[in-house]
């Protein structure tokens, strides 16, 4: 009987799919499995694709898969869509654009919902990336809307981050500059047959070039590409730029590479510690009879939430006398 980790490394689709489910559901058992598969990770090239809803990310991913498959590479896809904050449910429809690859054994596509618990998306997406990496996928494409801290974190852990914009959404360029512009290694103007593509390119160029970091000697200057993913125009050029960026990453000196890795590992480990502490502590506080009693007392007016919070938290952290 093979262990889950062994099955994943052997590329067992069912085992991979279930493990990602367990990661997403936050099952504690997964920690041991992730430990076991970790030595098999680090080989995949991770690409983040982000941009506003309707920018054409899924269609672009679909075309990218085709190009990468032609090069003989295997591909894993993680398509992230938002969870409804009202019902907790989600409709995950990115797959519609990629279904033509569903019978290709070299492609594994998984839809993930943001869910949104204590940086849960970052954790579960990183976990899922590790799983696809360990199963032997050469390229892993992670598609997100790129709004909010969590999603920015996700694309930041990619080797190459592609930011997809469409012409004629002037304010959209404004919106992406808040935090995510810096993360872009390649900018792609999709639906470039639409009016305003040139202006969007100009706006982007200006904004990117304001980033002084990009002027360091030998630094990567993010290219701005135009494409019409739906007609497969400009996608070959995009894939070529991804390879260029990959070569740039791997040809930079070991010092820089190790330094970058150290920064990334530090960030990821910090996230992981934060999440683990929250997990361990929060349930001990909120899943208790005292917590329920505190809620009752606030509702009945016997106490205020500030006092109740203090009374719950301080003893749990060993901070009360």
């Amino acid at each position: 009987m093979k262990s889950t980790a062994e099955k994943v490394v052997a590329g067992d689709i069912r085992a991979v799919a279930r493990l990602i489910r367990d990661i997403d559901d936050g099952m504690p058992e997964i920690r041991e499995v992730l430990k076991e598969i970790y030595p098999y990770t680090g080989k995949a090239y991770v690409i983040g694709i982000t941009g506003a809803p309707g920018a054409g990310k899924s269609t672009l991913v679909d075309r990218m898969i085709t190009h990468l498959r032609k090069e003989g590479k295997t591909v894993g896809v993680l398509a992230v869509d938002p969870t409804s904050p009202f019902s907790g449910g989600a409709i995950l429809g990115d797959r519609i654009r990629m279904q033509r690859h569903s019978m290709d054994e070299g492609v594994f596509i998984r839809s993930l919902a943001t869910r949104g618990h204590f940086g849960g998306l970052t954790q579960s997406t990183r976990g899922a990336i590790d799983v696809l990496d360990a199963m032997g996928k050469d390229f892993i494409l992670v598609e997100t809307v790129g709004v909010g801290q969590d999603e920015v974190e996700v694309v930041k852990s990619a080797h190459t981050t592609i930011i997809v914009v469409v012409p004629g959404m002037g304010d959209d360029v404004q919106a992406i500059k808040a935090g995510i512009l810096e993360a872009g290694d390649i900018f792609l103007i999709n639906k470039a047959d639409r009016e305003g593509a040139e202006k969007t390119a100009g706006d982007l160029r200006l904004m990117i070039d304001m980033d002084q970091e990009k002027y360091r000697k030998g630094a990567w200057r993010p290219p701005i590409l135009k494409a019409q993913a739906v007609a497969d125009k400009g996608v070959a050029e995009l894939v070529e730029e991804i390879h260029n960026h990959g070569r740039y990453l791997f040809e930079t000196s070991d010092d820089i590479k190790l330094g970058k890795k150290r920064v990334r590992v530090r960030e990821e480990l910090t996230d992981m510690v934060e999440k683990r502490i929250l997990e361990e502590v929060i349930n001990n506080i909120t899943k208790t009879a005292e917590f329920d009693r505190a809620v009752d007392s606030i509702v009945s007016g016997d106490t205020d939430p500030y006092t109740a919070c203090e009374e719950l938290v301080l003893p749990a952290l060993g901070l009360s006398e």
Binding site: I13, A17, P28, T83, I91, R95, Q99
Partner: protein
């Protein structure tokens, strides 16, 4: 801490008909009930549906068909699930079917069939009562 397990459902349209209004409404109702719904779009082969369902690790597949080929397509999905060792994934169907077909589909292993007479509440409740996320 274990987050609560989420029910994952694939809504799929096998075959050639292009009428997906029903499938979309069901997808929406499932979402509003708190399930995660993977919608794969029109014109799917049974093979594609099963492969996607396995990759997405869903608890249930809801098949929608209005074109009359359900007697072949629905049991074919079950057959491929069995071939792939994924017969634990529950399969339900929705559409307009003659009475005698409904009995035959259920006999073939389709867990439940919903028709235009079924209310959304009923369809959602059936999932809540019968599908336990693993």
């Amino acid at each position: 801490m274990a987050q609560k397990r989420k029910v994952r459902i694939m809504v799929a349209k096998p075959g050639l008909d292009g009428h997906d209004r029903g499938a979309r409404i069901i997808a929406r109702a499932y979402r509003d009930a708190g399930f995660e719904v993977i919608y794969t779009g029109l014109h799917q082969t049974p093979e594609e549906i099963v492969e996607a369902a396995i990759q997405e690790d869903v608890d249930m597949i809801g098949l929608s068909s209005l074109a009359g080929a359900h007697k072949y397509l629905f049991p074919r999905v079950l057959e491929i699930l069995r071939e792939k060792g994924a017969e634990d994934i529950v399969v339900c169907g929705g559409g307009i079917f003659p009475e005698e077909d409904i009995a035959a589909l259920k006999k073939a292993g389709i867990k439940e069939i919903f028709t235009p007479g079924s209310s959304l509440d009923e369809i959602v409740k059936w999932v809540e009562d019968n599908i336990k996320p693993r």
